[in-house]
Symmetry: C2
Subunit: 218 residues, 2 copies
């Protein structure tokens, strides 16, 4: 399988961590999520010391290695290097993409947040490997997420670039068919898995919903 | 001059930036400080986006290169790499020293905060190039700085290791002779320069005070 196809497949059910969770709870829920259909994990810790984040990250790195799931780090290129993670996800306020590429090399996966076609095309030109587009729906996880794109806005981003796009923001299993109608590579979630009463069932349900939309398409 | 002697000399008047300053004000005051005796600059931005910090850092990198003064970055190893700065300063909550050394290489300057002989010796064993010991006096710049060491506590740290030590915390020109009686390589300041009404005069006064204590000693 080509690198691009492999990346696209790993974006089907992309789960971000919730830094409000305790260390052991995070590891436990992440394991359950990965064992039940999550195809990519993003570690996000915006309000944590580097020392503690690297301890958590080390445990997630082991887990992801064991289960063969890519680990992407939000923002912190030094943590990617320290943990030998698979790549970084960069928001508008983070390190510029060309700088991150220079530090991480061509093999690293670099994802970028892009909420409109112009931003998406710019990121693609700069060498992004995938895009996160959102919020698709209103979300309470990210307070600064901006105005919802809706499935139409997501479709406009998807159609504007050749690299894979994941929709993010307010997505749950019921909404997956609507989101996937925009033909993204997959969906990204935080609370729908990390905040679920039954994370195993939540991950499996989301994955089944995404897969059923992908059947016959690819 | 050996690398160690050069580092020791560059620690005589070590100035940290104050992230509450605006971009242009920071650059202006930093230039004046470096032109008037500051021998090392530490860029510290704990509550700023990476995007903005790298923009500020790029301007400081140019300034320090022009004036031949080392630029040390607080905490962020990725910024050190992105800016090609001279090194990093690590606190207790930051990336562990061995990880930073692995990412930055042997030529980078790595400083560590150490407020007692046991911590100082541990950092030296792990390969720290210099130590910051404090607070020597009570300080308002760093709210979590802990109990003041006083000149005796600083002397205990200095005597416990072979690597150079800078005293930090509540230091002004009047207090320099007391601080230097502990025989550190130099003094580190934030507000005494960055917050001074006349930063040029403040830097020159501090530098003269440190130099007069070093005469005949080295």
């Amino acid at each position: 399988m080509s690198r691009h196809r492999r990346l696209r497949n790993s974006l089907r059910l992309y789960c971000l961590t919730d830094e409000r969770m305790g260390d052991d709870e995070l590891l436990k829920v992440a394991r359950v999520a990965l064992e039940n259909g999550v195809t990519c994990l993003q570690y996000r810790a915006k309000n944590m010391t580097a020392r503690r984040a690297l301890q958590q990250g080390e445990r997630l790195r082991e887990l992801c290695g064991e289960l063969g799931v890519p680990l992407i780090i939000n923002d912190r290129v030094d943590w990617v290097l320290a943990l030998e993670a698979d790549g970084v996800h960069l928001g508008d306020d983070d390190m510029p993409l060309p700088t991150a590429r220079r530090l991480l090399g061509q093999d690293a996966v670099i994802g970028v947040s892009a909420s409109n076609p112009a931003a998406a095309q710019k990121a693609e030109q700069l060498g992004a490997d995938y895009l996160g587009a959102g919020p698709v729906f209103p979300t309470e996880t990210k307070s600064d997420a901006g105005r919802p794109l809706g499935p139409k806005g997501l479709a406009a981003v998807v159609q504007s670039v050749d690299i894979p796009v994941v929709g993010i923001g307010g997505i749950n299993a019921e909404r997956v068919p609507t989101v996937m109608s925009a033909e993204p590579a997959g969906v990204a979630v935080v609370s729908a898995v990390m905040g679920a009463d039954d994370p195993a069932r939540a991950a499996a349900g989301l994955r089944a919903a995404v897969d059923s939309c992908c059947e016959g398409v690819r």
